[in-house]
């Protein structure tokens, strides 16, 4: 199997080959009418009370309002949307951190999330021990871990530090180790957030290359980005999220078009509002000045009267 992969990479280096996606089988990721509400507690007292009243009367913030989609093996899907549209909530559900309020999420495959790279490290353990630890946390077996340990160590390139406690690491080194583990676990699904920054520019380049290589092997990719170029070059499908719902699901170009149109619309509305506000302020100021002038005129009138 690995030989096959290598052949594929050699045959098509850097060239965008349309992937063949089988949509007849079971999807790798399936969201069925997923609703997510976050509870907003006003105070510690309300929290304490909520424990016994079952959150009755607590204000809720709807993050997702009935999201459904299916992602099939080998697809590369970009998620776009403004802040608060529900991107992170969806990713959190796919990685199994957060749970839907109603509806169902199904994930078939091993997920590597390049989101919280340093989460789950035990600072007092060495880098090597943490590889085992993190492996367990990601659901790997001893054999799996033994197989990939060397790859991880080579990739992280920490030198002698690999046998030092993680608490002696710089934040960049921790990131590197975290990234090396996540990229090397042979995932079925790769979750990438573009806002991710790992170490210096040299290592970042290495990361980008590794992600690209992994994508080329045909894993399912979920990609969150604000960059149109990055989305176009990586994804062949995009889901545009707006106010906790799927606004558009289709080609990247169409999704970006819709997104940009909406952004433009929002900017226009905002500009108009601003303009209107400015107008109002100007009007007010003019009125005030007129009033002031009138008062002054009156006063000066009075003064002159008194003088006389």
């Amino acid at each position: 199997m690995e030989i096959e992969e290598n052949v594929v990479i050699e045959e098509a280096p850097e060239v965008e080959t349309p992937r063949v996606i089988d949509r007849s089988g079971e999807p790798v990721i399936e969201f069925e009418n997923v609703v997510k509400n976050y509870y907003l507690y006003k105070s510690g007292r309300e929290r304490f009370k909520a424990m016994f009243t079952g959150n009755r009367g607590v204000r809720q913030h709807p993050a997702l309002g009935g999201v459904s989609f299916k992602i099939y093996a080998g697809e590369s899907v970009g998620f776009i949307g403004r802040n608060g549209a529900g991107k992170s909530t969806i990713l959190k559900m796919i990685t199994g951190v957060s749970y839907p309020t109603s509806g169902d999420v199904t994930v078939r495959g091993k997920v590597a999330a390049l989101l919280e790279l340093t989460a789950g490290f035990s600072p007092e353990m060495t880098g090597r021990e943490n590889i085992t630890m993190k492996g367990y946390l990601l659901g790997l077996t001893d054999d799996d871990i033994a197989e990939i340990e060397d790859d991880i160590i080579n990739f992280a390139d920490l030198g002698e530090y690999i046998d030092q406690p993680v608490l002696t690491y710089s934040s960049g080194m921790k990131m590197r180790l975290g990234f090396a583990i996540n990229i090397n676990i042979h995932p079925d699904i790769l979750v990438v957030d573009e806002a991710l920054s790992v170490g210096d520019s040299r290592f970042r380049k290495k990361c980008r290359k590794a992600i690209k290589a992994l994508i080329d092997t045909g894993v399912t990719v979920l990609f969150v980005s604000h960059s149109a170029d990055a989305l176009k070059s990586t994804c062949d499908r995009a889901i545009y999220l707006k106010d906790g719902g799927v606004e558009f699901d289709g080609t990247v170009d169409d999704a970006l078009e819709r997104y940009n149109a909406d952004i433009e619309e929002i900017r226009r509305v905002r500009r108009e509002k601003k303009e209107a506000r400015r107008q109002r302020v100007l009007e007010k100021r003019a009125k005030k000045q007129a009033k002031l002038a009138a008062q002054q005129a009156e006063q000066s009138g009075e003064v002159t009267e008194n003088d006389v």
Partner: protein, 287 residues
């Protein structure tokens, strides 16, 4: 590679289990190694960075014990014999399980909040957090119990056949206070007030439980029976039966106490199962 989506890595929110108990069981299945590793890591974290390291695990309870002994055996000299034993040995046998119990109640309740990263950043079965936290406290307890045994041997109270009852009381104690955390840990994670509530009743619990007085010596028969309701006494007295008194677990005089204890444990299982299931999915959002 993408085609071989093997069934090992399958996750769905469909078909939710009926009880919290079954969720907890499923979350522990096949996780022994991970939990063990985490418990060792937790132990290291607690005692690393200091010169004496793990020695502190022994120094701390020894010091407290010394102070208590000093106050009661040297200071208030008139009551040097309790239940027919020198106060120091009587207290020692009570204090060793108490040190574990207080650690398990307090540390257990705080465990989720302390290990926040596992809940809010990783897909990690929450109930494992309580297990590895309590497990790392258990290691210290076993170490202290061995030291206690040596001291008792030197004084001539041990060894005796009843010492083997340790292997009944100790695992049961671990289990009981682990089950307690199914309720207290999610609640403390949810509300800081609840955590404060627990830490503020700890001192009270210490004096209300028979750690350096004997609950069996209470003259008022009603209050004596009332003491059965405190499960801590079941273990403190159990340890004394095993290491000092030489009384069997099955001694007919103490059947009521045992029955009351197991009834409470059952209640705790039901409560823990209920609250764990209820709060499990909410905690990642509110922590």
């Amino acid at each position: 590679m993408a085609e071989n989506t093997n069934s090992e890595y399958f996750y769905t929110t469909k078909g939710e289990e009926k009880s919290g108990l079954s969720i907890i069981f499923r979350e522990h299945k096949g996780q022994a190694k991970k939990i063990f590793l985490l418990s060792v890591s937790h132990l290291k974290k607690t005692y690393s960075g200091s010169l004496l390291g793990p020695l502190w695990a022994v120094i701390k309870p020894t010091f407290t014990l010394f102070i208590l002994w000093f106050a009661f055996a040297v200071g208030l000299r008139h009551s040097n014999i309790v239940a027919g034993y020198p106060r120091f040995y009587f207290m020692l046998v009570g204090y060793v399980p108490w040190f574990y119990i207080s650690e398990a109640i307090l540390g257990g309740a705080r465990s989720i909040r302390k290990n926040k990263q596992y809940v809010t950043k990783l897909s990690f079965p929450m109930s494992n957090i309580m297990t590895f936290t309590n497990l790392s406290a258990l290691y210290i307890h076993i170490l202290l119990a061995v030291l206690m045994f040596i001291v008792l041997c030197v004084r001539g109270y041990a060894p005796m056949i009843y010492n083997l009852q340790f292997f009944y009381y100790c695992p049961l104690m671990f289990l009981f206070f682990l089950i307690l955390t199914w309720t207290t840990a999610p609640m403390s994670a949810f509300s800081k007030d609840f955590e404060n509530l627990i830490s503020s009743i700890m001192t009270g619990l210490f004096w209300l439980s028979g750690i350096f007085w004997s609950t069996y010596d209470i003259e008022n028969p009603f209050i004596k029976k009332l003491m059965y309701l405190n499960p801590i006494n079941y273990f403190i007295n159990g340890y004394r039966k095993s290491f000092l008194y030489g009384i069997s677990i099955f001694d007919a005089n103490y059947t009521t106490e045992t029955v009351v204890f197991y009834a409470e444990m059952l209640l705790l299982i039901l409560m823990g199962s209920h609250y764990y299931k209820k709060l499990r999915r909410l905690i990642p959002d509110v922590l």
